[in-house]
Point group: C2
Chain length 177, copies 2
């Protein structure tokens, strides 16, 4: 999970917005029901002012225990994490939390479709990769990042578009069906 996009603010880093728009499109068109999970927050104090709604006055961001996105597509459970990098030639492994990869492995074991959407922000290249393939490549690697070339050979490239901005369902079809 991540801070609201107002706290993000990096030009060119817009993967989350593009995916949110894409899943809204999929829901409207009845192609899939996918939602982003709310940012997990630990609530410490709440005020209940008279005549107005409850106001949270102290809370903290919590580590998410799962990925950001899940849902259902033609009967199949989909679960994915979306990450982007400013690096040009490789994707740093440190962008992936261990508990997220563990969650995706658990999903895989329950026969869900677990994958990653990876974006290279500078070149606007987007790849959809099975989570299990990513974990294998990570375990075999002696580097701190996965080279773009290796990603390209082990995933489906998705062109950036307009409506939806990232049409990743055809890649899911090819990877899992």
């Amino acid at each position: 999970s991540s801070l609201p996009s107002t706290h993000n603010g990096n030009r060119g880093m817009r993967l989350e917005d593009d995916i949110n728009e894409s899943i809204a499109y999929y829901r409207r068109e009845k192609l899939a029901v996918i939602h982003k999970k709310p940012t997990p927050v630990q609530i410490v104090n709440v005020d209940y002012p008279a005549r107005s709604r409850a106001k949270i006055t102290e809370a903290y961001f919590r580590q998410a225990s799962t990925t950001d996105y899940n849902g259902v597509y033609r009967g199949c459970y989909l679960d994915f994490e979306a990450k982007e990098t400013r690096q040009k030639q490789s994707f740093p492994f440190k962008n992936f939390h261990e508990h997220q990869l563990q969650h995706l492995a658990d999903v895989d074991e329950q026969q869900g479709c677990a994958f990653l959407i990876l974006r290279f922000a500078e070149s606007d290249e987007i790849f959809v990769m099975k989570a299990s393939v990513f974990v294998q490549l990570k375990e075999r690697s002696e580097r701190k990042s996965l080279q773009k070339q290796v990603i390209a050979e082990n995933s489906i490239a998705v062109p950036s578009g307009f409506i939806p901005p990232i049409d990743f369902l055809p890649a899911v079809d090819r990877l899992f069906y």
Copy 2:
């Protein structure tokens, strides 16, 4: 979604805790991967004190756009809402938000398993009902609540237990497989 249980505090109203324990058990035993979604919060202001973690100082509870629980069970997408009542003989329809029932209908259309877990707190009776059946009964009804007798005839009763407190997966098997 609901307030944290500290704000709930009603004796006997413990369905959410029991379900959270049950899904943790299912995850540990590798029977299913189901999580409760975080409470959706609209964050308005965040302080970043030096040397300590970000503190949210103004935020509000948002209406959830989906149900509280979803996940994957033997390849199938599960999605459900859990509700309990202190009423003894019937379950008030007002406990169910229209957008939650709409979400469950959308899940149904994508061939996911959409259901409700209903608990009568006073008698500790728990029922698992297909969301589509609930909606049909609601539409046919001229009352403001669904009688327990009708619920019992159109759902699977789940005995309250110890580990897990609510073993609802066998009911899912019977309803959907």
